[in-house]
Structures are given as structure tokens and as C-alpha cells.
Subunit: 486 residues, 2 copies
């Protein structure tokens, strides 16, 4: 892979971004002048200036790392993005497409014709092609297949066959392997025949004639050991390995726990298929956490901040629709108590507090439980213990905050019974929130679902409708008993 | 660092966790028998059984990786956790303390006496001691300082001086460096004198006599080049380097962008102080994203799921208090319109929908903007463009969903004007949410704050109070004009 000059520090990338933007601004200014020109003889000067800016910009881009160009493309609005994209050398298109976010990649690919795409993707390794394949038109993929060497074709086919969240999807096919019956001296001589080793080679795989994994020879060991030693004498046999069908999350956890740089991927016969490296894992972790954060805010996927209104709507509507339904249900719960509110309108002002605090408290509980479950640290045997603890927390919070709000309600509306309803409702709604905060994820896991998806919507739906029901129900009861105005 | 047998697969760790729990369960059963024993002659048998279980457990723990023991400790409730912790070999205490979460580390440290702690921490490197130092009692740190070698003492003092979110805090002091005027053959011979190279050594730093960084020699290059070559001829001089005061986030972004495994940390004179490795960066990324997720749910920090009720309350109260205040304000807004609600109680049932959908939509916007800002991709020059886009999305959503709800309100309460109020209020509240979703982060950055902190609380506060005000205000207006019942 081409690797242009690296940028030393984050500030430099920011400076480059500003440079590019300044050049673009000057370019725009010149263009407007040229377009609206009244004095034709100025045109030549302007065109010259224009050409200078473009040449300068191209030079800046040429020395930048692909990841930095990707970053800058993401930060630019559509027209400027495409203008810069056209200035990038064609042979670097592939590596940059690999680095940009999915949303921005779509906009770039749309601007390219099939031939350009085949050329750009053709410069990549099979595993890299597989990463951008979902965004490529089918015809481009077909052309690509035809243009590849047979070995790469097999690799691409394999890479495309692994689901996105599997270890296979993180895998690349670059690796060095040796036999166990040679000396380290031979290994050293063998390595010298390479132009360079694959990135992130921290260990060499030791395989037999049928490519079965026998062990791994860390470069660390290779370098400190006596060259006369045989590989088998110093290789490590306890190698953390994955199968392509393993969950990518499992692989990521292993990389974190055991501080790995690379790990082999083997088939069911323990034959080496490829390897996973830490850079792929780190990208995976970042993407996962991003999409979790976005999902919590109700965004289906990463969004190009300059996306069209239409694309944004598509990304956001489903969450709004779900919330509309839950809000509507909560509204009907209130509707059922309209006569109680008519008698004591203060209820309308106080009820959102009960629902809101219940939602916050429930979200705290469910987030902790879902997280513990994701780590596999939440055992069904401890469910009772956790219920007890969360109910304890809810009870204290309910009595303290509910008591405070009860006092305020009493003081505001000069009604002690109303204060009592407020406090009781708070306690009950927080208890409900705690029960559901533990119960919903447990139930969903038991039913085979992913407890993380939409947990926040569910708990909020329960504490909203539940909070209104508890508060208004209690108030109606108090009214019926003659304790409360109405 | 001691490194015990590695676990191959995630499933194996889960199996180990189940094994430990099964052993603990049997152990508990025996203990209860012994405690409640009626037949004294059985005691010996029970004690024997008990001893067997403990021995078995100890053996299981001995072969486990420190990170896996840490994982298991986190998954156990307090008494069992401490029981297992006592079975762990004392010399491994340090590395395990390093691996457990902050919350669980506190519980383990509480159970140890100062001498044990000094011994445990003493087995660690200076940068590792600095990582757990915030949880250690002051006397232990003082004792530790006295027990260290002068060089390590200086390192520890340096490591403790860097703020938690700086590149310095990620730094370790293990590294190999060579001079540029020697041949690779000399380097290879020099490396053979080591027992092992520091973990994650993918490059050797090239320094001059005063430790100024001259370049780096990747092991990759060392292995493929002719041993007769001089270091200066093949070393790379464009080395991504950090200063200890750089933001850890900046370092993490550089590791991701440039796919680094290690990078030198230098002082202002470009003298090498230490290095940052990818494992520290990966832990940092995971911790950051965890704490972002937790913060979004209103949790101050990571919580031991078996924390006491009291500890949980401390972790959660501040968020609840803030929300109580914002909910109270929203409640007063409603209170101001009590007479309008009294005249048309349907308003009480419909108002939470307007506020709720506004909050969801605002959270979508603010999450995207905050994220773009965190990546430095959001330029003030694009603010107008983003405002326009978000207002466009809000307008469409408002008209579509508001229109739908307006129709439903009309149908439910047989009042077209009420439907109109509903739709108008939705449009206006979504426009408010969009404006604030872009405006709040922009304003906070301009004021020098971190736009991420509490963004969700702020936007929800605005859309709640604002939503109630808009909806009830419009309804009151319609009532005054005689268009709406009242």
C-alpha cells in the first residue's frame, strides 16, 4: 500500500484542514469573479491564480496520509468534498475510500464511474476490497472479480462470505509462516528475502506442510534467541487463535485482555486462513462504541453531517415513530384520568416530574445491567441480589427526592394530601423503574434477544406510562376517599 | 511481568467463571453444613471436602491469565470475590489490581493491609504503579517510594505528575534504543543480549548521546535489510511522537489513523522520555467510550454491579438532582397555564407528546453535532449550513408527525382547532429542538466548555419546558381568540 508522508501531530492535521479550506475559499472567490467578470482582459490573470491554488492544494494532498485526507473529506460539505476528491491522485483512491466513514464513502463512490472504481478497488488487498464491497455497484464487483488473480479471487470470495460482526470480517491474508524444524538463522535469512514484512507482524506463524498451525514465533523471541536454535524449541504453542465464524466482539475482547498485536485465524482443522491485527480490532472497537452512542440517541447509523435532509430523515424516522407510539400510549393513560385532573388541575403540572425522574432512574439501572450482561458478568444466579440492591437504591431515592418534592407540592398547592400523593408516587415509580431496569434485560436475554437494543426506549415507555398511571391513580384514589380536593 | 497460561477463547473464560462459581457453591454448601453441624464426627469429612474444593480452585486460578482472573473477580459478589482474591498467589496481586475496574479495585484494596499492598504494587513497573496510585492509601505510596530504586522513583514521580487524560499517563518506560552510526549486525547482536524485549516493541528508537530522538528502526526493516547496512541508512525519520502533555485523545486518534503499535514520547528538547503502546491506547479508548455511555445514562462513573446501595446512590444522585430541577421548571411552566388546562383538560393528556418527541429529535441533532465537534470536523464556517439542514429535517418531521398527531387529536377530541394546535406546536418545538441542538454545542465551544458534558440534559430541559410552553401557549391563544373550547 502506498504510504505518503505521515503527519506528526493532531494539530498539524487541523492546520492542513484549515489550509485546504483557505485554498478552497480563495478558489471559490476566483471562480465567482471569473463567472461574473465584466472586464474580459482580467480573465487570464484570474485563471492563472485559480490554477495556482489548485496546484498548491494538490501538492498539499500528495504529502498527506490517506487517513488524514479521509478526515478532511469528511469535514467538508458536499461540493468542496468532491472538488478535493477529484484532486487526489487516482492511485490513492482505494486507500482513502477504505478510511472514510460509510456515509461519506457513499457520496464519493456516487461521483466515480465504474472504471475508476474498478481501478481504485483493484489497488487494494482482498480483505480491504471486502470492506468497501457493500458500497460498490454489483457490476463493479463483477469486473473486479474478473480482474483479480485466482488466489486473490478465492480470498475475496472468502472475505465476502463472513458476516460483518465475525472475526472473519476483521481478517487479512498477509502473513509470514515458517516450518518448525528449521533454525532461527534460516528464518532470519528467509525474512531478508522479503522487501518488507506485512504490517503488524509481531509473530511468525509456525505451520506444517498442510498449513496446520503448530505455534507462533514472536519476533521478540526470534531476535533475542541464539540463531542456532530450532524454531520448535522457542516457539510458543499457546497461541490465541480465532475461527472466522467467531464473534468479532470476542476477538476484540481477547486482544484487549491479552494485549495482542496479531492473532491467527484457523479453520476447523486448525489450518491457518489468515490473521487479525490490532489496527482492525481498534477500528472495530471504535465503530462499535460509536454506533452504540448513536443508537442511544436514536440514530440508525453514522450520519454524514452534511447529509441531505432526505438522508437524515431516513436515518432518524424509525426512532421518532417508536417514540410517538409510546408517547401516545402515555397520553391515553392520562386521558383515562381526565376527570381527576379536571377536579384538581395541579395534577397536570406535577405528573411529568414523576414520570421524568422515573425514566432517569430506570435508565441508570438498565444501562448498568445491560453493560454487565454484554461483558458476560451478569449471572442469572445473582439476579435476586441485583433486584434487592436496585430496589434498595430506588427506595432511598424515592423517599429522599419524593419527600422533597412532596414538601414542595404541599407548599405550592397548600395541600398535605397532594404532597403525600407526590411522594408515594415517586417511591412506587422508582421501584417500578428498578424492577424493570433489571427485569427487562433479563427477560430479553432469556428470550434470546439482545438486551442492548432499544433498552432505553423500553424503560422510558414503562416509566412514563407507569408514572402517569401511578400518580394519577393514587390521586384519584385519594379523591374518592375524600382526602384530596375533587 | 508474570504471565500465566493464556486462555484460548472467550468461551473458555466463561467456562472458567462457571467452574469457579460451581466450586464456590459447593464450598458454601459445605460451610453451611459445618456451621450448622449436629453430628460432630462428620466435621472432619466436611473439612476435608472443603479443603479439596479450595485446592482445586487455587489450581484453576494459578493457570489463568491475570486479565481473566480480574474478569472473574468483577463478576462475583463481594464475599465470594474476596474469598477468591485470597486464593490468588500474592505475587500476582499487582498485575490483577492493574486489570480490574476502578470500582472493583477499591473493594480489593480495602481488604488488603498496607504491607500486602506495598508488596503487590512493588512488583509493578513505575507507570503501572501510577495507574493504581489514586486508589492506594497515602502511607502505602510513601512506603513504595522508599522501597524503589532511584531510577524507578524518578519514573514514578514523573508518571504521577501527568494528568489522567494526557499522553504522559499512557506512557511506559520500557524501551530499547540504539545509535544511528552502528550497523544492523551490531543491533542484532545487541538485542540478543536481552532476555526478552519489552512488550509491543515494533520499533527501536534511534537516539544520540543526549537521548535526542533521531529516528526509529522498525523491526520489520531490521529483519529484511542487509545486516551490513548502517542504522542511519534505513531508519525512518518521520516518527509520530508525542509530548507528555499532549491530550491522550490526540494520541489515540494518531494510533488509529496511522495504525501504530508504539510511539515515542519526547520532552520539549526532543529527548525520549518513554513510549506509548497500542495496548494502553486500546484500554484508553474502551474506557472513554464506556464512560461516555455511562455519562449519557447519568452515571458518574463505572459502578461495581455489586456495589452497596450507598455507593450506588453516590454515583447516581447528582444526575437525578439536576433532572429534578429541570423537571420542576417544566412543571412550573405547566403551572402557569393551569387555567387553560382547567378549561380544556385534553391539553394535559396531549402536552407530554409534544415535549417528548421534541426531546428525542433534539437529542438526535445534538449527538451528531457533539460527535462532529469531538472529531474536530465541525467548522464554525459551516454552522449556517448545518442550521439550515437541521431546520429542514425538523420542519419535515414536524409537519409529518405533527400532522399525524393533529389528525389523531382531532379525531379523539372531535376538535379541529385542537388538532391544529397540536400540529403547530409539534412543528415549533421540533424547530426549537433543532436550533438548540446545533446552537448549544456551538455556544459552549465558543465559551471554552466541553460540548459533550450534559448535552442530553440541556437539550431535554429546553424541549420539555419549551414544548409545554409552546403547546399550552398556543392553546391559550386559541382559547382567547375563541377558536378553542374554554
Amino acid at each position: 500500500m502506498v504510504e505518503a508522508g505521515r503527519i506528526q501531530r493532531g494539530e498539524d492535521v487541523q492546520r492542513h484542514l484549515r489550509d485546504v479550506q483557505a485554498l478552497l475559499a480563495r478558489h471559490r472567490a476566483v471562480e465567482e469573479l471569473v463567472r461574473g467578470q465584466e472586464m474580459p482582459r482580467h480573465a487570464e490573470v484570474e485563471t492563472l491564480l485559480h490554477r495556482q491554488h489548485v496546484a498548491e492544494l494538490r501538492k498539499t494532498l500528495d504529502v498527506m496520509h490517506a487517513a488524514d485526507i479521509a478526515y478532511i473529506l469528511e469535514a467538508l460539505p458536499p461540493e468542496e468534498r468532491l472538488f478535493v476528491w477529484d484532486l487526489v491522485k487516482a492511485e490513492r483512491d482505494g486507500e482513502i475510500l477504505l478510511e472514510v466513514s460509510d456515509a461519506v464513502r457513499e457520496t464519493l463512490i456516487e461521483s466515480m464511474d465504474p472504471n475508476e472504481l474498478v481501478a481504485a478497488a483493484g489497488a487494494l488487498d482482498a480483505d480491504e476490497i471486502a470492506d468497501i464491497a457493500p458500497d460498490l455497484p454489483t457490476e463493479v464487483i463483477e469486473d473486479l472479480f474478473r480482474s483479480l488473480e485466482p488466489e486473490e479471487r478465492t480470498q475475496l470470495r472468502a472475505a465476502l462470505s463472513y458476516p460483518e460482526d465475525s472475526a472473519g470480517a476483521l481478517m487479512d491474508f498477509d502473513m509470514v509462516s515458517v516450518r518448525e524444524d528449521v533454525t532461527l538463522e534460516v528464518v532470519l535469512r528467509y525474512l531478508r528475502r522479503f522487501d518488507e514484512l506485512p504490517d503488524h507482524t509481531d509473530q511468525i506463524f509456525v505451520v506444517d506442510r498442510e498449513e496446520h498451525l503448530r505455534g507462533a514465533l514472536p519476533l521478540n523471541t526470534l531476535l533475542v534467541s541464539d540463531p542456532e536454535t530450532e524454531v520448535s524449541a522457542v516457539m510458543s504453542t499457546e497461541v490465541v487463535r480465532f475461527q472466522p465464524g467467531d464473534k468479532a466482539e470476542t476477538a476484540a475482547q481477547a486482544f484487549e485482555r491479552y494485549d495482542l498485536v496479531s492473532a491467527p485465524v484457523v479453520d476447523t482443522q486448525n489450518r491457518v486462513l489468515g490473521r487479525v491485527t490490532v489496527d482492525a480490532v481498534m477500528d472495530f472497537i471504535r465503530e462499535e462504541s460509536e454506533s452504540e452512542l448513536l443508537a442511544q440517541a436514536g440514530l440508525r447509523e453514522e450520519e454524514d453531517i452534511f447529509a441531505s435532509v432526505w438522508d437524515s430523515l431516513k436515518n432518524r424516522w424509525s426512532w421518532l415513530a417508536i417514540n410517538l407510539v409510546t408517547a401516545f400510549i402515555a397520553s391515553r393513560v392520562i386521558g383515562a384520568f381526565e376527570s381527576s385532573i379536571e377536579k384538581l388541575v395541579a395534577l397536570a403540572a406535577l405528573m411529568p416530574i414523576v414520570a421524568g425522574i422515573g425514566g432517569n432512574s430506570g435508565n441508570q439501572t438498565i444501562t448498568l445491567i445491560v453493560r454487565a450482561m454484554a461483558l458476560g458478568q451478569m449471572q442469572a444466579t445473582h439476579a435476586r441480589q441485583l433486584f434487592r440492591k436496585e430496589l434498595g437504591v430506588a427506595l432511598v431515592n424515592g423517599v429522599v427526592w419524593g419527600g422533597l418534592l412532596g414538601l414542595i407540592a404541599w407548599w405550592l398547592y397548600a395541600s398535605a394530601p397532594l404532597g403525600a400523593v407526590m411522594m408515594l408516587a415517586m417511591v412506587l415509580n422508582l421501584l417500578l423503574a428498578a424492577t424493570m431496569g433489571v427485569g427487562i434485560p433479563l427477560a430479553r436475554t432469556r428470550l434470546g434477544g439482545d438486551p442492548a437494543v432499544g433498552s432505553s426506549v423500553m424503560i422510558t415507555a414503562v416509566t412514563d406510562s407507569g408514572g402517569f398511571f401511578i400518580f394519577l391513580g393514587l390521586a384519584t384514589l385519594f379523591q374518592k376517599m375524600g382526602w384530596l380536593a375533587g
